[in-house]
């Protein structure tokens, strides 16, 4: 899932400064399950912004709405009326949602209330950890299901480096050494010989390094009239 966290209130306030009617738009998918931009969070933020603006002596009208998925046109059209009423839209979607809102309503100022951080998972309630970098060419079959592109601080394919100690990365005791995890996993599976092969340089073209990416599935496309 996409994991994001709310920007500090001060920063959000500066982004909405001057607007009289602000609409906070939450999203019901990823940001709901990482507790940063769902219904509750949108309500709490709207309330906090109202209160802060009142304490400041310059009250702002802040309302909120939530769409099921902020990254799909059909879903965000559902709040078209509320958006029309507002001076400014504060999106609590991930970076994709913010851009979808901005593109669908180009005449509106749309600002982000979240910092989209990474693709990851909740390893326990309240703790999310990065797992995937969308390199576009998944090599998890070679590494026992642990990704060195996302989880090794140096993205090594022939790790570990000399800084791996006690199972953690040299950058922090709170960061696992991905290669220790890979080693342990493959050892337990009796497949350590995979680590003796020298992995060649990665073809980064399928990554962001090759330019912004796009996938087209002709088998799924319909022409505008709906016919095949």
């Amino acid at each position: 899932m996409i994991v994001a966290e709310q920007k500090p209130l001060e920063e959000i306030r500066s982004l909405i400064q001057g607007a009289e009617k602000v609409l906070v738009v939450g999203c019901g998918t990823c940001v709901t399950v990482c507790f940063s931009g769902g219904e509750k969070e949108a309500g709490i933020l709207a309330s906090a912004l109202r209160m802060a603006s009142r304490v400041d002596g310059r009250p702002q009208q802040v309302t909120h709405a939530v769409v099921q998925r902020q990254c799909e046109w059909e879903y965000i059209d559902a709040v078209r009326d509320e958006v029309r009423e507002a001076d400014l839209v504060l999106s609590l979607g991930c970076g994709v949602g913010v851009q979808a809102m901005a593109e669908r309503f180009p005449e509106k100022i749309v600002v982000p209330g979240l910092n989209t951080a990474f693709m990851g998972m909740p390893v326990e309630q309240g703790v999310w950890s990065e797992r995937c970098q969308a390199c576009g060419n998944c090599l998890l079959g070679l590494t026992g299901g642990v990704c060195p592109i996302a989880r090794c601080s140096k993205q090594l394919l022939n790790g570990p480096c000399g800084g791996s100690v006690d199972g953690h990365c040299e950058i922090s005791v709170d960061t696992d050494c991905a290669w220790q995890l890979i080693y342990d996993r493959l050892k337990a599976q009796g497949r350590l010989e995979l680590l003796l092969e020298i992995q060649p340089p990665k073809d980064w073209r399928t990554s962001r390094d090759g330019g912004p990416r796009k996938i087209v599935r002709e088998d799924l496309r319909l022409n505008p009239t709906g016919s095949i």
């Binding site: 500090p8 209130l9 001060e10 509750k40 309500g43 709490i44 309330s47 906090a48 912004l49 109202r50 209160m51 802060a52 009142r54 304490v55 400041d56 009250p59």
Partner: protein, 147 residues
């Protein structure tokens, strides 16, 4: 009579199993406690919705107290532990919004503690009097009808 003629408006969210029962007992024992405290019963403090607390402040409350079971004795096991964390978070939101994080407090009681209820009620009242009216008092609005 409060300082500068200010009568605090304090909302007390009390859990059914312990705190509310303690407040009820205080009443039955005819123990005196300030009438600035408005008691609201909730099933468990673990059910606390931060939006309800913020709503109270937006509607003009000067303070909110959350009262639940003794630590380790929550009827629903960990409700009051979750509540404590949620209260800490709400405190932060209130501080950042400029309303004041000191205006929310959490207390733990058992259902037999009628006297303790009266004591914490007096304590909260005195605390809020000392803080003064909420900065939102001047521009209070009607409570929302959503909840």
């Amino acid at each position: 009579m409060g300082e500068l003629g200010f009568e605090p408006r304090i909302v007390a969210l009390c859990c059914h199993y312990c705190a509310y029962a303690a407040a009820d007992l205080a009443g039955a024992l005819r123990l005196q406690y300030p009438d600035t405290i408005h008691v609201v019963k909730i099933p468990c403090t673990g059910d606390l919705d931060v939006r309800d607390v913020l709503d109270a402040f937006e509607s003009g409350a000067d303070g909110v107290m959350i009262a639940g079971c003794m630590e380790g004795d929550c009827h629903y096991q960990t409700g009051n532990v979750r509540a404590r964390k949620r209260v800490d978070r709400t405190r932060q939101v209130l501080a950042e919004a400029g309303v004041g994080g000191e205006r929310i407090r959490m207390y733990h009681l058992s259902s037999a503690m009628g006297a303790r209820w009266a004591e914490v009620a007096r304590e909260m009242d005195a605390h809020i009097r000392q803080l003064g009216p909420s900065p939102l008092r001047a521009t209070a609005r009607r409570p929302s009808v959503e909840t």
